[in-house]
């Protein structure tokens, strides 16, 4: 279902009619539109947004750790439509235990490195990713540095 105040935004309305179950919430804040998407639907939603709504560019994929809150992780996508000159933020919430979400590399190949980065630094698994391994940290590194329970200083003994 779609919050009533978002109906005036064409993208939100179109997405709602494309798949009423996909949209779980959203907000219009400081001139930026955020849509919350059910994690299981992310790949199909992105496909719809790219090919039907002309959001041809995926700017970035990242995550936020809400530790110790639950659902712990937010995976955040920023999309840009050149034609409409519009930005859009998608957000999926994932539980803290074995976080995993469908990869959007089938929609934008450019998601590859961004998802690898999120996997590397947050430990979120992207299903059906062609090459899911660490990208910034060395291979064989233990832990995921951008998690909130990962210490900022100190060395392992």
């Amino acid at each position: 279902m779609i919050p009533d105040n978002l109906r005036e935004h064409a993208v939100a309305a179109a997405l709602d009619s494309f798949d009423p179950d996909a949209l779980t919430g959203g907000k219009w804040d400081r001139g930026e539109l955020t849509l919350e998407i059910a994690a299981a639907k992310i790949a199909s939603v992105c496909g719809f947004l790219k090919y039907d709504q002309k959001f041809v560019r995926l700017s970035t994929v990242t995550a936020v750790d809400r530790y110790p809150g639950e659902p712990r992780f937010e995976v955040v996508y920023h999309l840009y439509s050149i034609e409409r000159n519009e930005w859009l933020r998608l957000k999926c919430r994932l539980a803290g235990a074995n976080p995993s979400i469908e990869s959007v590399t089938s929609v934008w190949r450019g998601a590859n490195w961004y998802e690898r980065e999120v996997f590397d630094l947050f430990g979120i698994e992207f299903r059906n990713h062609p090459d899911l391994r660490r990208i910034l940290m060395p291979e064989g590194w233990e832990g995921h540095p951008l998690r909130k329970d990962y210490p900022i200083t100190g060395t392992r003994v």
Binding site: S59, V76, H78, G110, W113, L121, L136
Partner: protein, 409 residues
């Protein structure tokens, strides 16, 4: 200039039949310390004769955990981290970060500070393009261009030093305005520079644009289709060299860019030479912007009227109790930023910088993600270099203009 003998890849070269499988392939490890990678990038290249059959970039050598460090700095302190991301365009990163936080705070920035920001980020663009042009030319074998470019870059760094006390890690833009009052006599210095600079760009062009070796090494090299570019997340001058007119300064103006008159140069050839032409033209357009900023610089305050965010003047701090209290609060604790999240995008010399700042209402950012142009552009390396000659890799990589600090963060 002995490079003239190196065969350049033309459109026809791509069509050449490749040797059948079974031929011995060589794996070449280019980097991490290869001079043309300008930093530490490792490319695992598989060769069939002189033709590249596959390429795998390996990054992360300069990863310093800047995004993690944001979380233990207060908002104002974190400005210094943004310099160190892209060390050739520190002020662009300063600007993007402070704009994001100012959006969260809902701060109104006085016109003089906004114009000053525009002027200095455009000088940053020149600075970055000059380093790019010099090193790109040196990679291809034209030594002298480098010396000329660094002569002008030196003058820009002196201007930065005049403003901020620092040549490279300026941190001159702060949340709420500028770090310091613009120095006395800056107009003279900047004017002297913009007066001479267009003729200097002509000089570079004299050395390169009609140079047969330069043309031979760059024209028709490093092609990638526009669809692939958009799909792989390439931004900036590379997109514009493929004919797509996208520029955040025009599309979604920030920091009063809408008040300036400039063109967004594009080319359609979509090769190394076109990228060179686009950047040269961008240098001329940036000079135009700087000139306009210089002539129309508004007077008035250079920091916002927001006592809970901006440090009070020294004199007020010494004489007024209230100013002293604010000073103490800001220095010891920092300032609180209302809960929320913003994604601020600006046009850096290399392409699209995006700062995603999440606030939980405290004095420290909850999460800062930097979408850096080099990371996005570098991802397309395999697509660009696969199927071309090994000699053209250097030119192709150079035309992407990445900074490894920007890639690895």
């Amino acid at each position: 200039m002995s490079e003239s003998g190196v065969p350049s890849q033309s459109a026809a070269a791509v069509e050449e039949p490749k040797p059948q499988s079974g031929v011995r392939r060589m794996v070449l490890n280019m980097g991490p310390q290869h001079p043309s990678t300008h930093g530490v990038l490792r490319l695992l290249i598989e060769l069939d004769g002189e033709i590249i059959t596959s390429c795998q970039p390996d990054i992360g050598y300069l990863h310093t955990g800047i995004e993690k460090e944001f979380e233990v700095k207060n908002y104002q302190q974190a400005v210094t981290l943004t310099d160190r991301v892209d060390y050739l365009a520190p002020l662009s990163n300063n600007l993007c970060y402070v704009l994001a936080v100012e959006k969260l705070l809902g701060l109104e920035i006085p016109p003089q500070a906004q114009w000053m920001r525009v002027m200095l980020t455009e000088l940053t663009r020149l600075n970055s393009h000059l380093v790019w042009l010099g090193t790109h030319a040196i990679d291809i074998g034209a030594m002298s261009v480098f010396l000329y470019c660094f002569r002008e870059r030196e003058e820009i760094l002196r201007i930065f030093e005049m403003f901020s006390g620092q040549r490279m890690m300026t941190s001159y833009f702060r949340i709420g305005g500028l770090a310091l009052e613009p120095p006395r006599g800056w107009q003279k210095r900047v004017k002297a520079f913009v007066d001479i600079f267009p003729s200097r760009v002509d000089e570079y062009e004299n050395l390169l644009t009609a140079n047969r070796i330069w043309i031979g090494r760059t024209q028709g090299v490093g092609h990638i289709s526009l669809e692939d570019m958009l799909d792989l997340g390439i931004t900036g001058p590379m997109l514009r060299a493929a004919g797509l007119k996208v520029d955040a300064r025009k599309d979604r103006p920030y920091s009063s860019y809408e008040k300036f008159d400039f063109e967004v140069p594009t080319r359609t050839a979509n090769d190394v030479f076109a990228r060179y032409q686009v950047r040269i033209e961008e240098m001329r357009q940036s000079t135009r912007i700087i000139k306009q900023a210089l002539e129309g610089m508004p007077s008035g305050p250079w920091k916002a009227d927001a006592p809970h965010v901006v440090l009070p003047d020294r004199e007020k701090m010494k004489t007024q109790m209230e100013a002293l209290i604010y000073h103490f609060k800001i220095v010891t604790e920092g300032f609180r930023v209302p809960e929320g999240e913003v994604y601020q995008v600006i046009e850096s010399p290399r392409g699209e910088i995006g700062y995603y700042v999440v606030s939980d209402g405290t004095t420290h950012p909850y999460r800062v993600h930097m979408r850096t142009p080099s990371f996005g552009n570098l991802q397309a390396t395999p697509k660009i270099v696969e199927g071309i000659l090994i000699a053209d890799v250097i030119a192709s990589l150079g035309s992407m203009d990445f900074v490894l600090g920007d890639t690895d963060r």
